[in-house]
């Protein structure tokens, strides 16, 4: 029984190897860092009504494209989203554990886990995963965004692979395509037409699509936007009403109107 609604404890009692999700390489040879599938570019940024979280769709292993329809922006519950960069095998497992932990807590304790509590839960998973992260077989550097009901605002946090937690004031980025995005965001906030955080939803979405396109231009592992194949990034919006996925149709219209044509 989980006395404090701790799902991890319940799993441990069932004999689930929670503290060693993916064993680190033990020196048997045959392991090549380039064989590990990794997900690439994700970012979250604040805008007028809350937070937008976006991720490209590509998963790569070395210079091989593994998959072009990956969903790296995962809804953990009604008010929080985990955007993952790194090894999807570990990251998806973490997302599943978090999802069930939050559900279990809410249902057993009859109250929602606080936003801080959710952050701690993710940090703990990352900390327990440190050996695999250092070995390269389970490296995950996620961005966690959500709505803090107690404080009434959207929040963004990012983590290093060992579980250190940092709060982002305006935006957070992760993955191989992120330096480009980080650079543009910095430039826009400093010398652009006002801070990005003040954009309305439509302008913010256009900006997200442009950022993703720029990242794909300079990073071969980032999928970007492929209008021909109907491949758009996954974009989720977090506000007081909860998490909502921006429909691909809307992204399609914005992309063809405002990104392809230089309006």
């Amino acid at each position: 029984m989980g006395p404090q609604g701790d799902f991890l404890q319940v799993l441990r009692e069932q004999g689930y190897a929670l503290d060693n999700l993916f064993p680190s390489s033990n020196g048997n040879g045959g392991f090549n860092q380039a064989d590990v599938t990794t997900g690439t570019t994700v970012f979250a940024m604040k805008y007028a009504d809350g937070v937008l979280v976006a991720g490209d769709r590509r998963a790569t292993a070395g210079n091989v494209v593994m998959y072009d329809r990956t969903d790296k922006v995962l809804e953990i519950d009604r008010f929080s989203v985990l955007a993952i960069a790194g090894v999807p095998a570990t990251a998806f497992e973490m997302a599943r554990i978090l999802e069930h932990s939050f559900k279990y807590y809410r249902r057993s304790q009859l109250q929602d886990l606080s936003f801080e509590g959710k952050l701690r839960a993710l940090a703990t998973l990352l900390k327990n995963n440190a050996p695999a992260a250092l070995a390269g077989t389970g490296t995950v550097a996620p961005v966690f965004a959500g709505y803090d009901a107690q404080e009434g605002c959207g929040k963004i946090f990012f983590y290093d692979i060992l579980g250190a937690e940092f709060e982002a004031v305006e935006y957070a980025v992760s993955g191989s395509g992120s330096p480009t995005i980080r650079g543009i965001l910095y430039y826009m906030n400093r010398w652009g037409n006002g801070p990005v955080g003040g954009l309305n939803e439509e302008d913010a979405l256009i900006f997200v699509l442009r950022l993703m396109t720029s990242a794909a231009e300079f990073d071969s592992a980032t999928g970007g936007v492929d209008a021909q194949a109907q491949l758009y990034p996954i974009v989720k919006r977090i506000s007081a009403e909860g998490v909502r996925t921006i429909p691909a149709d809307r992204l399609k219209t914005l992309f063809s109107d405002k990104v392809l044509n230089n309006v």
Binding site: M1, G2, F7, V10, L11, Q14, Y16, R96, I97, H100, K103, Y104, R107, S108, L110
Partner: protein, 274 residues
């Protein structure tokens, strides 16, 4: 002294009498499956009796809150481990009942040196369509059964039988409002029959003179309405909808007082004395 078989049988029989007595003061619980989902309804005196177990599964209870809490945790653990290790669609009320609840309750009931669970439990699972809805109820002795469309927790099995007959005799609710109305009415009937049924002792005494008491008659409309009005004036109505049309993984929705107010038939609303 319990080594002798007949002593054991006697002890179990005593246990039944004791437990049956305990439930007479309890609040009945009604579950109704209709087009929109499953409605669970009861009234409480401060402790909730309806809980969320998993994405599509709710629990309704009658009896001692501490026992209910223990069983609730058993179900939560089982459901979440299963949903995590397999898939959320593998978590079913049927398996929770058969593998999770029934053995635990039966064992506690039959171990006569330990305390039994003073509780009856109903599990409701909402499906993609109404014919895939499931309602299971279990008695304090571990006997469980599946019910279609209508489920009830009430002090005795004879009242339960009467209610099932009554359910068959009436029209099916098509809207949430209709489901609330019919559930309240069934709740009122259960509550009246439960308190009007003579306790086992009295039944024995009265058996000689009036053997017809075993056939319960449905109280008239006004009696039911007045029982509901009287109860709602001092206790809290608790309503949960497992919403088939929620469009999300999670279907559990507690109807708050503001949502309930316009849905309760006027004749059931307590009159506020000024």
């Amino acid at each position: 002294m319990y080594e002798e078989p007949y002593r054991w049988i006697e002890a179990v029989a005593n246990r039944r009498t004791y437990l049956d007595d305990q439930f007479i003061q309890g609040n009945p619980l009604i579950a109704v499956s209709f087009a929109r989902g499953i409605l669970l309804l009861t009234v409480n005196r401060g402790t909730e009796k309806i809980y969320e177990i998993y994405d599509r599964i709710a629990l309704g209870g009658m009896g001692h809150p501490a026992d209910l809490e223990k069983l609730r945790y058993t179900l939560l653990d089982m459901a979440h481990v299963e949903g995590f290790q397999r898939s959320p669609s593998d978590v079913t009320a049927s398996r929770l009942m058969k593998n999770g609840l029934a053995p635990v309750i039966k064992q506690a009931f039959e171990e006569i040196f330990k305390a039994p669970y003073i509780t009856k439990v109903l599990l409701a699972e909402v499906g993609a369509t109404q014919d895939r809805d499931h309602l299971f109820s279990i008695n304090y002795d571990g006997m469980f059964e599946e019910q279609r469309e209508f489920g009830v927790l009430v002090s005795s099995s004879s009242i339960r039988e009467t209610l099932s007959q009554e359910w068959k005799a009436q029209g099916r609710p098509t809207s949430l409002q209709a489901a609330i109305e019919v559930s309240l009415r069934m709740w009122g009937i259960s509550s009246l029959l439960q308190t009007d049924t003579p306790s086992p002792d009295e039944e024995e005494k009265g058996a000689v003179s009036a053997p017809t008491t075993s056939v319960a008659t449905i109280p008239d409309k006004e009696t039911i309405a007045s029982r509901i009005r009287e109860t709602l004036s001092r206790e809290t109505l608790e309503c949960v909808l497992l919403d088939r049309e929620s469009g999300k993984m999670e279907t559990y929705h507690t109807l708050c007082q503001a949502e309930l107010q316009p849905l309760i038939p006027q004749s059931f609303v307590p009159v506020i004395e000024r």
